[in-house]
Symmetry: C2
Subunit: 311 residues, 2 copies
Protein backbone atom coordinates (compact mmCIF):
# COMPACT_ATOMS: atom_id res chain seq x y z
CA UNK A 1 0.00 0.00 0.00
CA UNK A 2 2.99 2.34 0.48
CA UNK A 3 3.41 2.07 -3.27
CA UNK A 4 -0.13 3.29 -3.77
CA UNK A 5 0.50 6.21 -1.45
CA UNK A 6 3.60 7.16 -3.42
CA UNK A 7 1.60 6.94 -6.60
CA UNK A 8 -1.07 9.28 -5.15
CA UNK A 9 1.59 11.73 -3.97
CA UNK A 10 3.17 11.90 -7.43
CA UNK A 11 -0.23 12.23 -8.96
CA UNK A 12 -1.40 15.06 -6.69
CA UNK A 13 1.87 16.93 -7.20
CA UNK A 14 1.30 16.57 -10.92
CA UNK A 15 -2.22 18.03 -10.57
CA UNK A 16 -0.77 21.00 -8.65
CA UNK A 17 1.85 21.61 -11.34
CA UNK A 18 -0.62 21.23 -14.21
CA UNK A 19 -3.17 23.60 -12.67
CA UNK A 20 -0.56 26.19 -11.67
CA UNK A 21 0.92 26.21 -15.17
CA UNK A 22 -2.51 26.59 -16.75
CA UNK A 23 -3.14 29.67 -14.58
CA UNK A 24 0.34 31.10 -15.17
CA UNK A 25 -0.23 30.95 -18.91
CA UNK A 26 -3.24 33.28 -18.49
CA UNK A 27 -1.49 35.56 -16.02
CA UNK A 28 1.52 35.76 -18.30
CA UNK A 29 3.95 35.41 -15.41
CA UNK A 30 5.00 32.89 -12.79
CA UNK A 31 3.33 32.30 -9.48
CA UNK A 32 5.56 32.53 -6.39
CA UNK A 33 6.56 29.05 -5.18
CA UNK A 34 7.24 28.51 -1.46
CA UNK A 35 8.19 25.12 -0.09
CA UNK A 36 7.86 24.34 3.59
CA UNK A 37 8.89 21.38 5.70
CA UNK A 38 8.10 20.81 9.36
CA UNK A 39 9.85 17.68 10.50
CA UNK A 40 8.49 18.12 14.04
CA UNK A 41 4.99 17.60 12.69
CA UNK A 42 5.76 15.32 9.74
CA UNK A 43 4.32 17.92 7.44
CA UNK A 44 5.53 19.45 4.24
CA UNK A 45 4.07 21.32 1.37
CA UNK A 46 4.37 23.81 -1.42
CA UNK A 47 2.40 27.02 -1.81
CA UNK A 48 2.09 28.34 -5.39
CA UNK A 49 0.85 31.86 -5.01
CA UNK A 50 -0.19 34.93 -6.93
CA UNK A 51 -1.16 38.26 -5.37
CA UNK A 52 -2.01 41.53 -7.09
CA UNK A 53 -1.46 40.03 -10.54
CA UNK A 54 -2.75 41.41 -13.84
CA UNK A 55 -5.49 38.81 -14.22
CA UNK A 56 -5.60 37.26 -10.76
CA UNK A 57 -6.12 39.51 -7.78
CA UNK A 58 -5.21 36.67 -5.43
CA UNK A 59 -4.82 32.95 -5.73
CA UNK A 60 -3.05 29.95 -4.29
CA UNK A 61 -2.59 26.36 -5.42
CA UNK A 62 -1.30 24.58 -2.34
CA UNK A 63 0.10 21.11 -1.94
CA UNK A 64 0.14 19.62 1.59
CA UNK A 65 1.30 16.26 2.89
CA UNK A 66 0.97 15.42 6.56
CA UNK A 67 1.04 12.47 8.98
CA UNK A 68 -0.69 13.24 12.26
CA UNK A 69 -1.06 11.35 15.51
CA UNK A 70 -4.74 10.61 16.06
CA UNK A 71 -5.84 13.06 18.76
CA UNK A 72 -9.03 12.24 20.66
CA UNK A 73 -10.97 14.98 18.87
CA UNK A 74 -9.75 13.86 15.45
CA UNK A 75 -10.59 10.22 16.35
CA UNK A 76 -14.10 11.22 17.42
CA UNK A 77 -14.53 13.20 14.22
CA UNK A 78 -13.52 10.38 11.89
CA UNK A 79 -15.45 7.80 13.94
CA UNK A 80 -18.57 9.90 13.50
CA UNK A 81 -17.87 9.80 9.78
CA UNK A 82 -17.94 6.00 9.90
CA UNK A 83 -14.26 5.08 10.30
CA UNK A 84 -13.46 2.16 12.54
CA UNK A 85 -11.15 3.37 15.35
CA UNK A 86 -10.40 1.55 18.63
CA UNK A 87 -10.68 4.48 21.04
CA UNK A 88 -8.64 2.59 23.65
CA UNK A 89 -5.54 2.41 21.48
CA UNK A 90 -5.42 5.85 19.94
CA UNK A 91 -1.66 6.13 20.28
CA UNK A 92 -1.25 3.21 17.85
CA UNK A 93 -2.96 5.21 15.08
CA UNK A 94 -1.89 7.86 12.63
CA UNK A 95 -3.73 9.78 9.97
CA UNK A 96 -2.00 10.45 6.68
CA UNK A 97 -3.35 13.10 4.33
CA UNK A 98 -2.12 14.46 1.05
CA UNK A 99 -3.89 16.97 -1.13
CA UNK A 100 -3.91 20.03 -3.27
CA UNK A 101 -6.24 22.89 -2.44
CA UNK A 102 -6.79 26.04 -4.44
CA UNK A 103 -8.78 29.26 -4.44
CA UNK A 104 -8.45 31.74 -7.31
CA UNK A 105 -9.93 35.26 -7.23
CA UNK A 106 -9.66 37.01 -10.63
CA UNK A 107 -9.61 40.79 -10.75
CA UNK A 108 -12.34 41.24 -13.39
CA UNK A 109 -15.82 40.87 -11.83
CA UNK A 110 -17.01 39.11 -14.97
CA UNK A 111 -14.57 36.25 -14.27
CA UNK A 112 -15.65 33.86 -11.50
CA UNK A 113 -13.77 32.80 -8.38
CA UNK A 114 -13.02 29.09 -8.16
CA UNK A 115 -12.18 26.69 -5.38
CA UNK A 116 -11.04 23.10 -5.75
CA UNK A 117 -9.35 20.45 -3.70
CA UNK A 118 -8.25 16.89 -4.33
CA UNK A 119 -7.34 14.82 -1.28
CA UNK A 120 -6.38 11.29 -0.27
CA UNK A 121 -6.32 10.01 3.33
CA UNK A 122 -5.13 6.88 5.11
CA UNK A 123 -5.91 5.67 8.60
CA UNK A 124 -2.76 3.87 9.81
CA UNK A 125 -2.66 1.35 12.68
CA UNK A 126 0.83 0.30 13.80
CA UNK A 127 2.25 1.20 10.42
CA UNK A 128 -0.44 -0.60 8.42
CA UNK A 129 -3.14 1.04 6.29
CA UNK A 130 -6.47 0.10 7.92
CA UNK A 131 -8.65 2.39 5.82
CA UNK A 132 -8.30 4.93 3.03
CA UNK A 133 -10.58 7.39 1.32
CA UNK A 134 -10.66 10.10 -1.31
CA UNK A 135 -12.19 13.53 -0.86
CA UNK A 136 -12.42 16.72 -2.80
CA UNK A 137 -14.49 18.93 -4.97
CA UNK A 138 -14.62 21.90 -7.28
CA UNK A 139 -17.07 24.78 -7.13
CA UNK A 140 -17.50 28.00 -9.05
CA UNK A 141 -18.46 31.42 -7.65
CA UNK A 142 -19.42 33.87 -10.39
CA UNK A 143 -20.25 37.51 -9.67
CA UNK A 144 -22.29 37.77 -12.87
CA UNK A 145 -24.12 34.86 -14.38
CA UNK A 146 -22.92 33.56 -17.75
CA UNK A 147 -25.14 30.54 -18.21
CA UNK A 148 -22.97 29.03 -20.95
CA UNK A 149 -20.01 29.07 -18.51
CA UNK A 150 -22.08 27.41 -15.77
CA UNK A 151 -23.23 24.69 -18.13
CA UNK A 152 -19.78 24.00 -19.56
CA UNK A 153 -18.24 23.98 -16.06
CA UNK A 154 -20.77 21.48 -14.74
CA UNK A 155 -20.59 19.45 -17.96
CA UNK A 156 -16.81 19.14 -17.62
CA UNK A 157 -17.18 17.82 -14.06
CA UNK A 158 -19.93 15.41 -15.06
CA UNK A 159 -17.82 14.09 -17.92
CA UNK A 160 -14.91 13.57 -15.51
CA UNK A 161 -17.13 11.63 -13.09
CA UNK A 162 -19.29 9.56 -15.43
CA UNK A 163 -16.65 6.94 -16.37
CA UNK A 164 -16.48 5.94 -12.68
CA UNK A 165 -20.23 5.85 -12.13
CA UNK A 166 -23.25 7.68 -13.47
CA UNK A 167 -24.34 8.14 -9.85
CA UNK A 168 -21.27 10.15 -8.85
CA UNK A 169 -22.00 13.54 -10.40
CA UNK A 170 -25.68 13.93 -9.35
CA UNK A 171 -24.98 12.71 -5.80
CA UNK A 172 -22.00 14.97 -5.19
CA UNK A 173 -23.46 17.91 -7.12
CA UNK A 174 -26.33 17.82 -4.59
CA UNK A 175 -23.87 17.56 -1.68
CA UNK A 176 -21.99 20.56 -3.05
CA UNK A 177 -25.19 22.67 -3.09
CA UNK A 178 -25.91 21.47 0.45
CA UNK A 179 -22.42 22.21 1.78
CA UNK A 180 -21.57 25.59 0.25
CA UNK A 181 -24.58 27.22 1.83
CA UNK A 182 -24.30 30.62 3.53
CA UNK A 183 -27.19 29.75 5.84
CA UNK A 184 -27.53 33.16 7.47
CA UNK A 185 -28.03 34.76 4.03
CA UNK A 186 -30.18 32.00 2.57
CA UNK A 187 -27.79 31.90 -0.38
CA UNK A 188 -25.26 29.45 -1.75
CA UNK A 189 -21.64 30.57 -1.99
CA UNK A 190 -21.77 30.10 -5.75
CA UNK A 191 -23.28 27.95 -8.49
CA UNK A 192 -21.85 24.73 -7.08
CA UNK A 193 -19.95 21.91 -8.70
CA UNK A 194 -19.13 18.67 -6.89
CA UNK A 195 -18.15 18.00 -3.29
CA UNK A 196 -17.26 14.54 -1.94
CA UNK A 197 -15.73 12.99 1.16
CA UNK A 198 -15.14 9.48 2.55
CA UNK A 199 -15.21 8.00 -0.93
CA UNK A 200 -13.78 4.46 -1.06
CA UNK A 201 -16.68 2.39 -2.36
CA UNK A 202 -14.99 2.12 -5.77
CA UNK A 203 -11.68 0.59 -6.84
CA UNK A 204 -8.79 2.73 -5.65
CA UNK A 205 -7.13 2.87 -9.05
CA UNK A 206 -10.41 4.06 -10.49
CA UNK A 207 -10.63 6.75 -7.82
CA UNK A 208 -7.11 7.91 -8.59
CA UNK A 209 -8.14 8.06 -12.21
CA UNK A 210 -11.23 10.09 -11.24
CA UNK A 211 -9.03 12.66 -9.48
CA UNK A 212 -6.80 12.89 -12.53
CA UNK A 213 -9.84 13.49 -14.71
CA UNK A 214 -11.18 16.11 -12.26
CA UNK A 215 -7.84 17.93 -12.45
CA UNK A 216 -7.93 17.76 -16.24
CA UNK A 217 -11.53 19.01 -16.23
CA UNK A 218 -10.39 22.00 -14.16
CA UNK A 219 -7.64 22.79 -16.65
CA UNK A 220 -9.96 22.35 -19.62
CA UNK A 221 -12.74 24.48 -18.14
CA UNK A 222 -11.70 27.26 -15.74
CA UNK A 223 -8.80 28.87 -17.67
CA UNK A 224 -11.09 29.07 -20.70
CA UNK A 225 -13.77 30.87 -18.65
CA UNK A 226 -11.19 33.34 -17.31
CA UNK A 227 -9.74 33.96 -20.78
CA UNK A 228 -13.21 34.72 -22.06
CA UNK A 229 -13.90 37.35 -19.39
CA UNK A 230 -10.57 38.73 -18.19
CA UNK A 231 -10.75 41.75 -20.49
CA UNK A 232 -14.51 42.32 -20.29
CA UNK A 233 -15.39 45.95 -19.59
CA UNK A 234 -16.87 46.58 -16.14
CA UNK A 235 -18.13 49.47 -14.05
CA UNK A 236 -17.25 50.63 -10.56
CA UNK A 237 -20.66 49.39 -9.43
CA UNK A 238 -19.86 45.92 -10.75
CA UNK A 239 -16.51 45.90 -8.96
CA UNK A 240 -18.37 46.95 -5.79
CA UNK A 241 -20.79 44.03 -6.13
CA UNK A 242 -17.81 41.69 -6.61
CA UNK A 243 -16.34 42.93 -3.31
CA UNK A 244 -19.67 42.50 -1.53
CA UNK A 245 -19.94 38.93 -2.77
CA UNK A 246 -16.32 38.41 -1.66
CA UNK A 247 -17.48 39.49 1.79
CA UNK A 248 -20.02 36.66 1.64
CA UNK A 249 -17.17 34.34 0.63
CA UNK A 250 -15.27 35.36 3.76
CA UNK A 251 -18.39 34.81 5.88
CA UNK A 252 -18.82 31.29 4.51
CA UNK A 253 -15.19 30.37 5.00
CA UNK A 254 -14.91 31.63 8.56
CA UNK A 255 -18.37 30.67 9.81
CA UNK A 256 -18.95 27.32 8.06
CA UNK A 257 -16.06 25.87 6.08
CA UNK A 258 -14.87 22.71 7.89
CA UNK A 259 -11.26 23.08 6.80
CA UNK A 260 -11.03 26.73 7.83
CA UNK A 261 -12.78 26.17 11.17
CA UNK A 262 -10.49 23.22 11.88
CA UNK A 263 -7.47 25.39 11.02
CA UNK A 264 -8.63 28.23 13.27
CA UNK A 265 -8.99 26.02 16.35
CA UNK A 266 -5.87 23.88 15.75
CA UNK A 267 -3.04 25.21 17.92
CA UNK A 268 0.08 26.00 15.96
CA UNK A 269 -1.60 25.70 12.55
CA UNK A 270 -0.26 27.68 9.59
CA UNK A 271 -2.73 30.54 9.78
CA UNK A 272 -1.50 32.14 6.55
CA UNK A 273 -2.41 28.96 4.66
CA UNK A 274 -5.71 28.55 6.53
CA UNK A 275 -6.82 32.07 5.56
CA UNK A 276 -5.30 32.01 2.06
CA UNK A 277 -8.80 31.62 0.48
CA UNK A 278 -9.79 35.06 1.79
CA UNK A 279 -9.86 37.59 -1.06
CA UNK A 280 -7.50 40.55 -1.33
CA UNK A 281 -10.44 42.87 -0.78
CA UNK A 282 -13.97 42.54 0.51
CA UNK A 283 -16.73 44.95 1.39
CA UNK A 284 -19.69 45.09 3.75
CA UNK A 285 -22.44 47.61 3.10
CA UNK A 286 -25.43 47.96 5.36
CA UNK A 287 -28.53 46.88 3.40
CA UNK A 288 -26.89 46.79 -0.02
CA UNK A 289 -29.88 47.02 -2.36
CA UNK A 290 -30.21 44.58 -5.24
CA UNK A 291 -32.50 45.98 -7.94
CA UNK A 292 -35.14 43.44 -8.96
CA UNK A 293 -34.45 42.23 -12.49
CA UNK A 294 -30.82 43.45 -12.46
CA UNK A 295 -27.85 41.24 -13.34
CA UNK A 296 -27.02 41.05 -9.62
CA UNK A 297 -30.57 39.86 -8.93
CA UNK A 298 -30.28 37.26 -11.71
CA UNK A 299 -27.26 35.76 -9.92
CA UNK A 300 -28.93 35.87 -6.52
CA UNK A 301 -31.95 33.92 -7.82
CA UNK A 302 -29.61 31.04 -8.68
CA UNK A 303 -27.79 31.34 -5.35
CA UNK A 304 -31.14 31.04 -3.55
CA UNK A 305 -32.41 28.07 -5.55
CA UNK A 306 -29.59 25.96 -7.05
CA UNK A 307 -30.17 24.94 -10.64
CA UNK A 308 -29.50 21.68 -12.47
CA UNK A 309 -27.04 22.80 -15.14
CA UNK A 310 -26.67 19.53 -16.98
CA UNK A 311 -28.90 16.50 -17.27
CA UNK B 1 -40.02 46.57 38.77
CA UNK B 2 -41.79 47.56 35.54
CA UNK B 3 -41.05 51.11 36.60
CA UNK B 4 -37.37 50.25 36.76
CA UNK B 5 -37.51 48.68 33.31
CA UNK B 6 -39.12 51.83 31.92
CA UNK B 7 -36.43 53.90 33.57
CA UNK B 8 -33.69 51.74 31.96
CA UNK B 9 -35.39 51.99 28.55
CA UNK B 10 -35.52 55.80 28.74
CA UNK B 11 -31.97 55.86 29.95
CA UNK B 12 -30.59 53.59 27.18
CA UNK B 13 -32.46 55.56 24.52
CA UNK B 14 -30.88 58.68 25.98
CA UNK B 15 -27.41 57.10 25.71
CA UNK B 16 -28.10 56.24 22.06
CA UNK B 17 -29.21 59.81 21.30
CA UNK B 18 -26.29 61.37 23.19
CA UNK B 19 -23.67 59.19 21.47
CA UNK B 20 -25.20 59.59 18.00
CA UNK B 21 -25.29 63.37 18.39
CA UNK B 22 -21.69 63.47 19.55
CA UNK B 23 -20.63 61.57 16.42
CA UNK B 24 -22.84 63.65 14.12
CA UNK B 25 -21.18 66.79 15.37
CA UNK B 26 -17.82 65.45 14.14
CA UNK B 27 -19.21 64.13 10.87
CA UNK B 28 -20.93 67.45 10.26
CA UNK B 29 -24.12 65.77 9.06
CA UNK B 30 -26.90 63.56 10.36
CA UNK B 31 -26.81 59.80 10.62
CA UNK B 32 -29.65 57.92 8.90
CA UNK B 33 -32.30 56.85 11.42
CA UNK B 34 -34.33 53.71 10.79
CA UNK B 35 -36.96 52.50 13.22
CA UNK B 36 -38.21 48.95 13.11
CA UNK B 37 -40.98 47.14 14.95
CA UNK B 38 -41.76 43.44 14.82
CA UNK B 39 -44.88 42.78 16.81
CA UNK B 40 -44.74 39.06 15.99
CA UNK B 41 -41.50 38.81 17.95
CA UNK B 42 -42.07 41.56 20.50
CA UNK B 43 -39.04 43.35 19.18
CA UNK B 44 -38.39 46.91 18.19
CA UNK B 45 -35.45 49.13 17.67
CA UNK B 46 -33.77 52.02 16.01
CA UNK B 47 -30.67 51.92 13.83
CA UNK B 48 -28.68 55.17 13.62
CA UNK B 49 -26.35 54.69 10.72
CA UNK B 50 -23.58 56.34 8.74
CA UNK B 51 -21.95 54.88 5.65
CA UNK B 52 -19.33 56.44 3.38
CA UNK B 53 -19.25 59.63 5.42
CA UNK B 54 -16.50 62.27 5.42
CA UNK B 55 -15.09 61.24 8.78
CA UNK B 56 -16.76 57.89 9.36
CA UNK B 57 -16.41 55.20 6.73
CA UNK B 58 -19.09 53.14 8.43
CA UNK B 59 -20.82 53.16 11.77
CA UNK B 60 -24.01 52.27 13.56
CA UNK B 61 -25.47 53.12 16.96
CA UNK B 62 -28.31 50.64 17.38
CA UNK B 63 -31.03 50.51 19.98
CA UNK B 64 -32.85 47.17 20.46
CA UNK B 65 -35.63 46.10 22.82
CA UNK B 66 -36.90 42.54 22.79
CA UNK B 67 -38.95 40.09 24.85
CA UNK B 68 -38.26 36.48 23.89
CA UNK B 69 -39.79 33.17 24.93
CA UNK B 70 -37.11 31.14 26.69
CA UNK B 71 -36.10 28.49 24.14
CA UNK B 72 -34.34 25.40 25.46
CA UNK B 73 -30.98 26.52 24.05
CA UNK B 74 -31.34 30.00 25.53
CA UNK B 75 -32.37 28.46 28.89
CA UNK B 76 -29.33 26.18 28.87
CA UNK B 77 -27.10 29.11 28.00
CA UNK B 78 -28.31 31.35 30.80
CA UNK B 79 -28.38 28.43 33.29
CA UNK B 80 -24.73 27.80 32.53
CA UNK B 81 -24.12 31.46 33.32
CA UNK B 82 -25.63 30.93 36.77
CA UNK B 83 -29.27 31.96 36.30
CA UNK B 84 -31.87 29.94 38.14
CA UNK B 85 -34.29 28.45 35.58
CA UNK B 86 -36.76 25.59 36.17
CA UNK B 87 -36.17 23.57 32.98
CA UNK B 88 -39.55 21.83 33.40
CA UNK B 89 -41.54 25.05 33.09
CA UNK B 90 -39.74 26.85 30.30
CA UNK B 91 -42.96 28.09 28.71
CA UNK B 92 -43.64 30.15 31.84
CA UNK B 93 -40.47 32.19 31.27
CA UNK B 94 -39.50 35.10 29.10
CA UNK B 95 -36.27 36.99 28.62
CA UNK B 96 -36.39 40.74 28.25
CA UNK B 97 -33.39 42.59 26.86
CA UNK B 98 -32.79 46.22 26.04
CA UNK B 99 -29.56 47.72 24.88
CA UNK B 100 -27.60 49.98 22.63
CA UNK B 101 -24.75 48.57 20.59
CA UNK B 102 -22.34 50.49 18.40
CA UNK B 103 -19.34 50.03 16.13
CA UNK B 104 -17.68 53.02 14.46
CA UNK B 105 -15.03 52.73 11.74
CA UNK B 106 -13.44 56.11 10.90
CA UNK B 107 -11.92 56.63 7.47
CA UNK B 108 -8.55 57.99 8.61
CA UNK B 109 -6.24 55.13 9.71
CA UNK B 110 -4.88 57.34 12.49
CA UNK B 111 -8.33 57.36 14.13
CA UNK B 112 -9.29 54.16 15.97
CA UNK B 113 -12.35 51.97 15.53
CA UNK B 114 -14.55 51.70 18.60
CA UNK B 115 -17.16 49.24 19.82
CA UNK B 116 -19.45 49.67 22.80
CA UNK B 117 -22.64 48.21 24.14
CA UNK B 118 -24.78 48.86 27.18
CA UNK B 119 -27.42 46.25 28.01
CA UNK B 120 -30.00 45.37 30.65
CA UNK B 121 -31.76 42.00 30.91
CA UNK B 122 -34.62 40.55 32.92
CA UNK B 123 -35.62 36.94 33.43
CA UNK B 124 -39.43 36.91 33.74
CA UNK B 125 -41.47 34.10 35.30
CA UNK B 126 -45.25 34.36 34.84
CA UNK B 127 -44.94 38.11 34.37
CA UNK B 128 -42.72 38.65 37.40
CA UNK B 129 -39.04 39.68 37.32
CA UNK B 130 -37.11 36.76 38.85
CA UNK B 131 -33.64 38.00 38.00
CA UNK B 132 -32.00 40.95 36.27
CA UNK B 133 -28.50 41.84 35.20
CA UNK B 134 -26.47 44.46 33.41
CA UNK B 135 -23.93 43.79 30.67
CA UNK B 136 -21.80 45.79 28.34
CA UNK B 137 -18.43 47.14 27.54
CA UNK B 138 -16.36 49.49 25.46
CA UNK B 139 -13.16 48.67 23.61
CA UNK B 140 -10.87 50.59 21.29
CA UNK B 141 -9.14 49.28 18.16
CA UNK B 142 -6.43 51.64 16.93
CA UNK B 143 -4.51 51.04 13.70
CA UNK B 144 -1.60 53.15 14.93
CA UNK B 145 -0.69 53.50 18.57
CA UNK B 146 -1.12 56.90 20.21
CA UNK B 147 -0.29 56.12 23.80
CA UNK B 148 -1.84 59.32 25.14
CA UNK B 149 -5.16 58.29 23.52
CA UNK B 150 -4.96 54.80 25.01
CA UNK B 151 -4.28 56.20 28.47
CA UNK B 152 -7.05 58.81 28.33
CA UNK B 153 -9.51 56.26 26.95
CA UNK B 154 -8.81 53.78 29.73
CA UNK B 155 -8.70 56.56 32.31
CA UNK B 156 -12.16 57.74 31.28
CA UNK B 157 -13.55 54.21 31.72
CA UNK B 158 -11.83 53.77 35.06
CA UNK B 159 -13.22 57.09 36.28
CA UNK B 160 -16.71 56.01 35.20
CA UNK B 161 -16.40 52.71 37.08
CA UNK B 162 -14.60 53.77 40.27
CA UNK B 163 -17.60 55.41 42.01
CA UNK B 164 -19.36 52.02 41.95
CA UNK B 165 -16.38 50.01 43.12
CA UNK B 166 -12.61 50.19 42.80
CA UNK B 167 -12.72 46.51 41.83
CA UNK B 168 -14.85 47.04 38.75
CA UNK B 169 -12.35 48.51 36.29
CA UNK B 170 -9.41 46.11 36.89
CA UNK B 171 -11.68 43.04 36.88
CA UNK B 172 -13.52 43.92 33.70
CA UNK B 173 -10.46 45.39 31.99
CA UNK B 174 -8.89 41.93 32.37
CA UNK B 175 -12.06 40.24 31.07
CA UNK B 176 -12.01 42.55 28.07
CA UNK B 177 -8.43 41.52 27.21
CA UNK B 178 -9.46 37.88 27.65
CA UNK B 179 -12.59 38.14 25.49
CA UNK B 180 -11.44 40.24 22.52
CA UNK B 181 -8.73 37.77 21.63
CA UNK B 182 -8.18 36.68 18.03
CA UNK B 183 -6.83 33.33 19.19
CA UNK B 184 -5.71 32.06 15.78
CA UNK B 185 -3.51 35.16 15.36
CA UNK B 186 -2.28 35.33 18.92
CA UNK B 187 -3.40 38.97 18.98
CA UNK B 188 -6.09 40.98 20.72
CA UNK B 189 -8.64 42.77 18.57
CA UNK B 190 -7.49 46.09 19.98
CA UNK B 191 -6.14 47.76 23.10
CA UNK B 192 -9.13 46.69 25.22
CA UNK B 193 -11.31 48.64 27.57
CA UNK B 194 -13.92 47.00 29.80
CA UNK B 195 -16.23 44.05 29.19
CA UNK B 196 -18.82 42.83 31.70
CA UNK B 197 -21.79 40.48 31.84
CA UNK B 198 -24.19 39.09 34.50
CA UNK B 199 -23.54 42.07 36.74
CA UNK B 200 -26.15 42.40 39.50
CA UNK B 201 -24.07 42.22 42.67
CA UNK B 202 -24.50 45.96 43.22
CA UNK B 203 -27.56 48.11 43.79
CA UNK B 204 -29.57 48.40 40.59
CA UNK B 205 -29.79 52.19 40.77
CA UNK B 206 -26.03 52.30 41.12
CA UNK B 207 -25.66 50.05 38.07
CA UNK B 208 -27.94 52.30 36.05
CA UNK B 209 -25.80 55.18 37.17
CA UNK B 210 -22.68 53.25 36.08
CA UNK B 211 -24.11 52.80 32.59
CA UNK B 212 -24.90 56.50 32.40
CA UNK B 213 -21.33 57.33 33.40
CA UNK B 214 -19.96 54.81 30.84
CA UNK B 215 -22.01 56.52 28.13
CA UNK B 216 -20.75 59.91 29.26
CA UNK B 217 -17.18 58.59 29.29
CA UNK B 218 -17.65 57.48 25.68
CA UNK B 219 -18.85 60.93 24.68
CA UNK B 220 -16.05 62.64 26.58
CA UNK B 221 -13.32 60.41 25.19
CA UNK B 222 -13.89 58.93 21.72
CA UNK B 223 -15.09 62.00 19.78
CA UNK B 224 -12.05 63.86 21.12
CA UNK B 225 -9.72 61.12 19.84
CA UNK B 226 -11.38 61.18 16.41
CA UNK B 227 -11.23 65.00 16.25
CA UNK B 228 -7.53 64.84 17.02
CA UNK B 229 -6.77 62.40 14.17
CA UNK B 230 -9.47 62.78 11.53
CA UNK B 231 -7.35 65.13 9.41
CA UNK B 232 -3.96 63.50 10.09
CA UNK B 233 -1.97 62.89 6.90
CA UNK B 234 -1.61 59.24 5.95
CA UNK B 235 -0.08 57.13 3.20
CA UNK B 236 -1.54 54.42 0.99
CA UNK B 237 0.52 51.90 2.95
CA UNK B 238 -1.12 53.07 6.19
CA UNK B 239 -4.58 52.77 4.65
CA UNK B 240 -3.61 49.27 3.52
CA UNK B 241 -2.61 48.30 7.06
CA UNK B 242 -5.92 49.68 8.32
CA UNK B 243 -7.79 47.40 5.90
CA UNK B 244 -5.71 44.39 6.93
CA UNK B 245 -6.50 45.05 10.58
CA UNK B 246 -10.16 45.42 9.59
CA UNK B 247 -9.87 41.94 8.11
CA UNK B 248 -8.78 40.77 11.57
CA UNK B 249 -11.82 42.59 13.00
CA UNK B 250 -14.08 40.60 10.66
CA UNK B 251 -12.33 37.37 11.66
CA UNK B 252 -12.93 38.08 15.35
CA UNK B 253 -16.55 38.98 14.86
CA UNK B 254 -17.48 35.99 12.74
CA UNK B 255 -15.31 33.36 14.44
CA UNK B 256 -15.58 34.38 18.12
CA UNK B 257 -17.98 37.19 18.99
CA UNK B 258 -20.86 35.69 21.00
CA UNK B 259 -23.43 38.15 19.75
CA UNK B 260 -22.50 37.71 16.09
CA UNK B 261 -22.34 33.91 16.35
CA UNK B 262 -25.72 33.88 18.10
CA UNK B 263 -27.14 36.08 15.34
CA UNK B 264 -25.74 33.87 12.57
CA UNK B 265 -27.35 30.71 13.93
CA UNK B 266 -30.67 32.28 14.98
CA UNK B 267 -33.27 31.57 12.29
CA UNK B 268 -34.99 34.69 11.06
CA UNK B 269 -32.53 37.09 12.73
CA UNK B 270 -31.90 40.53 11.22
CA UNK B 271 -28.70 39.65 9.38
CA UNK B 272 -28.03 43.25 8.33
CA UNK B 273 -27.92 44.28 12.00
CA UNK B 274 -25.88 41.21 13.00
CA UNK B 275 -23.20 42.01 10.41
CA UNK B 276 -23.36 45.80 10.84
CA UNK B 277 -20.00 45.78 12.75
CA UNK B 278 -18.21 44.56 9.61
CA UNK B 279 -16.20 47.40 8.04
CA UNK B 280 -16.95 48.90 4.64
CA UNK B 281 -13.68 47.46 3.36
CA UNK B 282 -11.22 44.84 4.50
CA UNK B 283 -8.19 43.18 3.00
CA UNK B 284 -6.39 39.86 3.26
CA UNK B 285 -2.80 39.61 2.04
CA UNK B 286 -0.88 36.39 2.14
CA UNK B 287 1.99 36.81 4.62
CA UNK B 288 1.70 40.58 5.04
CA UNK B 289 5.10 41.52 6.41
CA UNK B 290 5.36 43.75 9.46
CA UNK B 291 8.76 45.42 9.61
CA UNK B 292 10.34 45.04 13.06
CA UNK B 293 10.46 48.40 14.80
CA UNK B 294 7.83 49.96 12.49
CA UNK B 295 4.70 51.72 13.74
CA UNK B 296 2.68 48.64 12.72
CA UNK B 297 5.00 46.47 14.80
CA UNK B 298 4.65 48.84 17.76
CA UNK B 299 0.87 48.28 17.68
CA UNK B 300 1.20 44.51 17.27
CA UNK B 301 3.42 44.28 20.37
CA UNK B 302 0.56 45.71 22.45
CA UNK B 303 -1.98 43.44 20.74
CA UNK B 304 0.16 40.43 21.66
CA UNK B 305 0.72 41.43 25.29
CA UNK B 306 -2.02 43.70 26.64
CA UNK B 307 -0.75 46.63 28.66
CA UNK B 308 -2.00 48.23 31.87
CA UNK B 309 -2.79 51.74 30.70
CA UNK B 310 -3.81 53.24 34.03
CA UNK B 311 -3.02 52.28 37.58
Amino acid sequence: MAEFRDKVIDHIKAIQAMITESLESIEGSSFIRESWNREDRNGKGQVNLIQDGQVFEKGGVNYTEIELPLSRSLATYISERGKNVDQNHLSDYKLFAVGVSLVIHPRNPMAPTIHANYRYLELILNGEVKDFWFAGGTDLTPYYLDEADCISFHQSLKSACDPLSAEFYPKYKAECDEYFNIKHRGMRRGIGGIFFDDVNQWDKQDLLDLQRRCGEAFVASYPEIVRKHKDDPYTKAQRRWQKIRRGHYVEFNIAYDRGTKFGLVTPDSNIEAVLMPCPLSARWEYKYKIEPGSEEDRLVQVLRVPREWVS
